[in-house]
C-alpha cells in the first residue's frame, strides 16, 4: 500500500512545499523568500528541495530581474497538483481503516 505514496512528496519538507503551493489560486505564483519564511527553511535547503520537485515536473520556477534585484517565483504545475491529489488519496486509503 505504501508503494502508492509518492516518495518525492512523502519527504516532510517537500510535502510542506507542495501543500503550500497547492493552496495558491490558479495562475498565481509565490516568491522564493515568502515560501522560505512560511516554511522556516534555509535558502540552501529550499533550493535543493525545489530543484528535486522541478526536475520531476511538479513545480515551475521563474526568475525575473528588476534592476539589480532578482526575484524567483515558484508555482505548482498541473502534474504537481495531480501528484499531490494522488498522494493524498493514497494516504486516505492507507489510514482509512484506522
Amino acid at each position: 500500500m505504501t508503494d502508492e505514496l509518492d516518495p518525492l512528496i512523502h519527504v516532510p519538507t517537500r510535502l510542506k512545499i507542495v501543500a503550500t503551493l497547492a493552496a495558491l489560486p490558479d495562475g498565481d505564483t509565490l516568491s522564493f523568500t515568502r515560501l522560505q519564511d512560511l516554511l522556516g527553511l534555509t535558502p540552501g535547503n529550499l533550493i535543493i528541495q525545489l530543484r528535486k520537485l522541478e526536475e520531476a515536473g511538479y513545480l515551475s520556477t521563474e526568475k525575473t530581474r528588476n534592476g539589480s534585484a532578482q526575484k524567483t517565483t515558484v508555482a505548482l504545475t498541473r502534474q504537481g497538483h495531480k501528484a499531490l491529489d494522488a498522494y493524498t488519496q493514497a494516504l486516505r486509503d492507507l489510514l482509512g481503516g484506522l
Partner: protein, 142 residues
C-alpha cells in the same frame, strides 16, 4: 460609525496584505482594474451630488441611493473585471450583487434594506457553496 469603517478598512487591507505577501499572478488586481473599481465608487458620489443638485428628495438621496447604487455599480465593475479575466465565479458574484442592488432600488426606500440584506446573503452563500463544491471535486482541500 466613521471610525468603525476606517478601522475595518485598515484591518482588512492589513490582513490581506499580510496574507498575500509574496503572491503574484492572476488573483492580484492590476492597476487598471483598481481604477475601474475606484471609478465605480466615485460615480456613486457623483450620482448623489447630481441628484442633490436636481432637487430629488432627501429620502431617496441619503437612503435609497447609498443602499443600492454602490451595489449596482460595484457589482457591475467586479463582473466586468472578472469577465475580462474569464473567472466566472466572481463574475457571477458581481452580477448577483448588481441584481440585488437593482431589486433594492425597485423595492423602494422602506423595503431596500430587507431586499439588500436577504439578496446579499443569497449571493454570498451561493458563492460559498460554489467554492465548497469545487474543492470537493479535488482530493486536496486547502
Amino acid at each position: 460609525m466613521v471610525v468603525f469603517v476606517i478601522a475595518n478598512f485598515v484591518a482588512t487591507v492589513g490582513v490581506r496584505m499580510r496574507a498575500t505577501a509574496g503572491v503574484s499572478g492572476k488573483s492580484r488586481l492590476r492597476p487598471a482594474e483598481i481604477t475601474v473599481l475606484a471609478l465605480a465608487w466615485i460615480a456613486v458620489f457623483l450620482i448623489i451630488g447630481g441628484m442633490s443638485i436636481a432637487g430629488v428628495s432627501g429620502a431617496a438621496i441619503y437612503t435609497l441611493v447609498p443602499l443600492t447604487v454602490p451595489l449596482i455599480l460595484g457589482g457591475l465593475a467586479w463582473a466586468a473585471i472578472n469577465a475580462a479575466r474569464k473567472d466566472w465565479r466572481p463574475f457571477g458574484v458581481g452580477l448577483g450583487v448588481a441584481v440585488v442592488g437593482a431589486a433594492g432600488l425597485l423595492a423602494g426606500v422602506v423595503a431596500a434594506w430587507a431586499v439588500d440584506g436577504v439578496g446579499l446573503c443569497v449571493v454570498l452563500l451561493g458563492s460559498a457553496a460554489a467554492i465548497v463544491w469545487r474543492q470537493r471535486r479535488s482530493v486536496v482541500r486547502p
